[in-house]
């Protein structure tokens, strides 16, 4: 029994995982979740389901182009198909780290492009349970991130990271994110409100391999306080398609190129 110290080290082994800090885990997660590839395209079908089970559908094509490294500037283009009366509406966002986004909207019925102030990242994305932040990410510097423990989602090992906002601008008090230890995709996120009560739950319901990149192709967000939930499916996903920078302009907002949005 002289080698008792071996057992102690063996017992401590899982802690090796903690070699990463909370910040590092979230940074890797952001890169894996929101920045893979140089660009990305998906046909997005969102189902907005209320407490009574009534469904509303939003269908759009989403294009994303990274302008630099992971964590850097990005451009988003969204072209709506459904609901029927908003067909041809398109929405463009220039996303900057640590600065308010620039947003433009094309309203086909009055043939007008309008800049939209992005003062509130907490507001709902097209009436869903996802906020703009949930869709395009939240600045990592806005929160303190600490690895609380290790956990599992299904059979996947995860870091459980607690993120607490530094300021008061967030719509949550803190959140716990289950980050896959190998893919670094967030598999689950529990948000708690400022009073500490469970608020919203995000789940990555299906992860698929797209051109060698693990991608969350089905996800959902449920508001536990209102019973409202949103289910999102990504169809026809593709990476590194060579989307031109010129697409992200007012001209194409009015008249998007078919090959990109169809």
């Amino acid at each position: 029994m002289k080698r008792w110290w071996i057992w102690i080290i063996a017992g401590l082994l899982p802690l090796q995982a903690f070699a990463l800090t909370g910040e590092e885990v979230m940074k890797k997660s952001q890169a894996a979740f929101l920045y893979p590839g140089t660009d990305f395209k998906a046909r997005v079908v969102m189902k907005l389901i209320n407490k009574g089970g009534q469904e509303r559908v939003r269908e759009l094509t989403m294009l994303r182009k990274n302008m630099g490294e992971a964590g850097g500037e990005q451009k988003y283009f969204m072209y709506f198909f459904r609901p029927a009366d908003v067909k041809d509406m398109s929405f463009m966002t220039y996303k900057y780290p640590a600065k308010d986004d620039d947003r433009w909207l094309f309203i086909p019925a009055i043939n007008m492009v309008k800049r939209i102030a992005a003062q509130d990242k907490r507001s709902s994305f097209v009436g869903s349970d996802f906020t703009y932040e949930d869709v395009s990410g939240r600045d990592l510097e806005d929160d303190n991130h600490v690895i609380e423990r290790e956990g599992k989602v299904g059979n996947r090992d995860c870091y459980v990271v607690k993120s607490t906002p530094k300021g008061t601008d967030a719509d949550f008090g803190y959140k716990l994110t289950w980050v896959d230890t190998s893919t670094f995709l967030p598999l689950k996120e529990e948000q708690f409100d400022k009073k500490g009560a469970p608020y919203k739950v995000f789940t990555a319901d299906e992860v698929a391999d797209v051109q060698g990149i693990p991608t969350v192709v089905k996800r959902s967000m449920k508001n536990l306080q209102t019973g409202h939930r949103t289910e999102v499916a990504y169809l026809n996903t593709g990476y590194n398609l060579g989307i031109e920078d010129s697409l992200f302009s007012e001209r194409f907002l009015r008249q998007p190129l078919r090959k990109w949005v169809e």
């Binding site: 009534q54 309203i107 019925a109 009055i110 939209i116 102030a117 003062q119």
Partner: protein
């Protein structure tokens, strides 16, 4: 051998007393479980159409059942940096309170505003933080008064008042949250005045007043009765006995109510005072006992004879009272039902005591004490007895004149009843000076109105509401409604569409209209939903765009206001036909439905009570003719009181309408006592049915049992007079009603029964003798 409860009680008085004490303690153990229910919604069962529909509307449009409104008023205007700083600070603290639905709190810092600044569309909180410069304050002023959606909602036209609307999560404790908000605003220094109003606050205040009535006013009523009894009989043991009987009956009834799991409601909170008053019916036993004892000077014999003489009337009066209250079990309004059952039970218990506990206690009373007290009890010596005889004599000697006067008064009273105005205004249940009334008045003056109704406009087709014609229809209806004096502000999805149209076109007033195509409307709403709080749109339109919810803020809680709104909507629809249906909802609509239920219940209750009381009278007298005679003073009393209510223009509300039913059951007691005792007396007397004999018997009845009636009425009135000082107006109205009814019906019984009997004596007394004998024989047989 027939078991006699009275005999048993006289023989084993100690056993009876101890058994009562034990049972009373048993019921008392239930008291700690007491809970109150002051939610006006619970007036109707949760399966009632209006509640099911209102719940559905709440669900469809994501509406909250309860909202606290915090008013902030500054005579110098709220738009200055100091006041705005305080408002921001207060709102932050409110948002952090548990139970507050923080995401949907609407105040300066949280309410959604749609503006255009330098070509950029801005949808977001009106004032994300307190302004730091005067220029920012001026910008806020511009934003507020430039957006009709905000004026009269979060800012008064004169800029002196703002409001924070605080919706509560389901099951949150409104009273607790209101208290915390009180503490939050109390911590702020400054010239601002704060008003905290809304349903949850009203309910809580109501609950507190209810406990006050039960805990303070009921004991005071008891004390007053105790003193009154003591003055009447000058025997402490007797006074204590009567109070003990009343207390035991109250404890049994309330214990049963609480034990059975019923919450105490506005009606049942009055039960202790009612039971205390009903207990005074046993005064007839004591009254008679004193007279008998004076004649016989044998206590046990006096008890037996007393019980024989009064058993029949006492039993039937109890039956009548219990039946009067039991009629309430057929009502639609839940608390009224519970109240009816409660008092019916209490009355039965009281009568059980009349034949057990009271005789048992009488055996304990020392003979010399009774002798002392009874010395004054004689028809000849007693002043009040002589007065009563005098009143009776007016009836017997001038029957025609008395009857004619009655007919005239009845006619006048009937005119008065046609002026009765049914209305339940829950806020008016609080006194003018109460905090809640003050807050409600101030908010109604400054902002769009505190009473909220909805008009749900539904189509059969999905997406229909996005059509420009539907939007314009909504807008037109709003303009129509806003022309009504009772309507403060209206609010619908059309307001958002117009606002967005204008803002997208550089705030050009020309575009303050509904756009031409459905696609435009759809895209505007989509645009709005991209940036606003989800609830902003959910509150006014359903997810399928098939139902729109038009908010109507009313300046008064009068139920009539919502009826006017519904009528105006119907008229509008006739003038502007569109393939939609309009259904009212909301608390204001609930109040209207409930108000109509009160009316329906009153008509039903009154008819039922009239039938039941007549049946009981006929049964008690074994004669329909006598029942008819006994009916007269009763009807007369009620007509007179209703006439007065009609002439004074007081709102006829739920408590009064319930009383109208009950009063029949209670006021009939006097007629039963009078007629039974008169016929007994006449049967016992030797004068046959000659006019002189009838007159003498009537005068004897007026003075001897009449004294019991007078004492009963005085005690009743004394107990209820306490309620005149109660803090809630329904209690005051009930108090005044009962005091008036008891005194009036006692007087009318002693005056009109002799007159009517004299007038109709040939018709009344010309019946086969066995009936009269049967009555006498029956009463002796007990």
């Amino acid at each position: 051998m027939k078991f006699s409860l009275v005999e048993f009680s006289i023989r084993r008085p100690k056993l009876v007393v101890w058994a009562t004490v034990a049972l009373t303690l048993l019921f008392l153990t239930q008291f700690p479980k007491i809970r109150t229910d002051t939610n006006p919604k619970h007036m109707l069962p949760d399966t009632s159409d209006v509640r099911v529909w209102n719940d559905e509307v709440d669900k469809t449009f994501g509406l909250y059942e309860d909202t606290i409104v915090v008013g902030v008023e500054n005579d110098a205007g709220v738009l200055n940096r100091e006041t705005l700083g305080r408002i921001a600070h207060i709102t932050d603290k409110i948002l952090a309170l548990p139970g507050v639905a923080s995401r949907d709190v609407n105040g300066f810092t949280t309410i959604t505003n749609v503006t255009a600044e330098a070509g950029t569309l801005k949808v977001g909180p009106l004032m994300p933080g307190a302004p730091k410069t005067d220029a920012e304050v001026e910008a806020l002023r511009g934003a507020l008064f430039g957006n009709p959606l905000l004026v009269d909602r979060v800012i008064s036209k004169d800029g002196k008042t703002t409001a924070i609307y605080v919706p509560l999560e389901k099951g949150a404790n409104g009273a607790e949250i209101a208290n915390k908000i009180h503490a939050i605003v109390a911590a702020e220094n400054g010239p601002e005045r704060y008003y905290i109003a809304g349903d949850p606050v009203a309910r809580d205040t109501f609950g507190a007043e209810m406990f006050k009535l039960m805990g303070i006013f009921s004991p005071i009523a008891g004390m007053i009765m105790f003193i009154a009894i003591q003055l009447m009989f000058r025997n402490l043991a007797l006074s204590i006995a009567m109070m003990a009987v009343a207390m035991a009956a109250i404890i049994w009834s309330m214990g049963l109510l609480i034990g059975a799991g019923f919450p105490v409601h506005i009606m049942s909170s009055m039960a202790p005072v009612f039971l205390m008053a009903i207990a005074t019916d046993s005064i007839h036993i004591f009254n008679e006992f004193y007279f008998r004892y004076r004649e016989k000077h044998d206590k046990l014999a006096a008890i037996r004879e007393t019980m024989q003489a009064v058993s029949r009337p006492v039993r039937y009066t109890a039956l009548a009272t219990a039946a009067g209250f039991a009629v309430l079990l057929f009502m639609n309004i839940v608390p009224v039902k519970v109240f009816g059952g409660l008092i019916a039970f209490g009355t039965v218990v009281l009568r059980l005591f009349s034949f057990s506990l009271i005789p048992a206690i009488l055996t304990f009373v020392k003979e010399d004490k009774i002798a002392q007290a009874a010395a004054n009890e004689s028809v000849e010596l007693d002043r009040s007895a002589r007065l009563l005889r005098g009143i009776g004599r007016i009836g017997t000697d001038r029957p025609l004149a008395v009857a004619l006067l009655g007919v005239v008064m009845m006619a006048v009273a009937i005119v008065g009843t046609t002026k009765i105005h049914i209305n339940n205004n829950l806020v008016a249940w609080f006194k003018q000076s109460s905090e809640i009334r003050v807050a409600d008045t101030a908010m109604n003056q400054a902002l769009g109105g505190t009473s909220l109704g909805y008009l749900v406009v539904q189509s059969k087709e999905p997406e229909f509401m996005k059509r420009p014609e539907a939007m314009r229809w909504l807008e037109g209806l709003q303009r129509d409604l806003e022309g009504m004096p009772v309507v403060g502000k209206t609010f619908s999805v059309a307001d958002y569409v117009k606002r967005i149209n204008r803002v997208l076109h550089d705030d050009d007033p020309k575009f303050d209209t509904i756009p031409e195509t459905q696609d435009t409307v759809g895209q505007y709403l989509f645009l709005f939903s991209m940036s606003a709080k989800p609830s902003d749109l959910d509150n006014v339109i359903d997810s399928g765009f098939q139902k729109a919810n038009l908010w109507v803020q009313l300046k008064t809680w009068d139920a009539e206001a919502m009826r006017q709104v519904i009528h105006a909507a119907q008229t509008y629809q006739q003038a502007h036909p569109l393939a939609v249906t309009v259904k009212p909802a909301g608390i204001a609509y609930f109040n209207l439905v409930w108000n109509d239920e009160v009316l329906g219940d009153m008509v039903l209750g009154l008819s039922l009570a009239l039938v039941v009381v007549f049946a009981i009278l006929a049964l008690a007298f074994r004669s329909a003719k006598w029942a008819l005679i006994g009916y007269v003073p009763l009807l007369f009393t009620i007509l007179l009181i209703y006439g007065v209510v009609g002439f004074t223009g007081k709102d006829f509300d739920m408590p009064l309408s319930v009383l109208s039913t009950l009063s029949l059951g209670m006021a009939v007691d006097f007629a039963i006592h009078f007629v039974s005792r008169f016929r007994q007396r006449l049967a016992e007397s030797n004068g046959g049915r000659s006019e002189a004999a009838v007159r003498e018997a009537l005068l004897w009845t007026a003075s001897r049992p009449g004294k019991g009636i007078l004492r009963n009425a005085l005690l009743f009135a004394a107990a209820f007079s306490v309620m005149l000082f109660a803090p809630l107006t329904p209690y005051i109205a009930v108090g005044a009603f009962i005091v008036a009814m008891m005194l009036l019906s006692a007087l009318l019984t002693v005056l009109y029964l002799p007159a009517l009997v004299m007038l109709g004596r040939n018709w009344l007394l010309d019946e086969p003798k066995p009936a009269a004998i049967a009555v006498a024989a029956h009463s002796k047989g007990d």
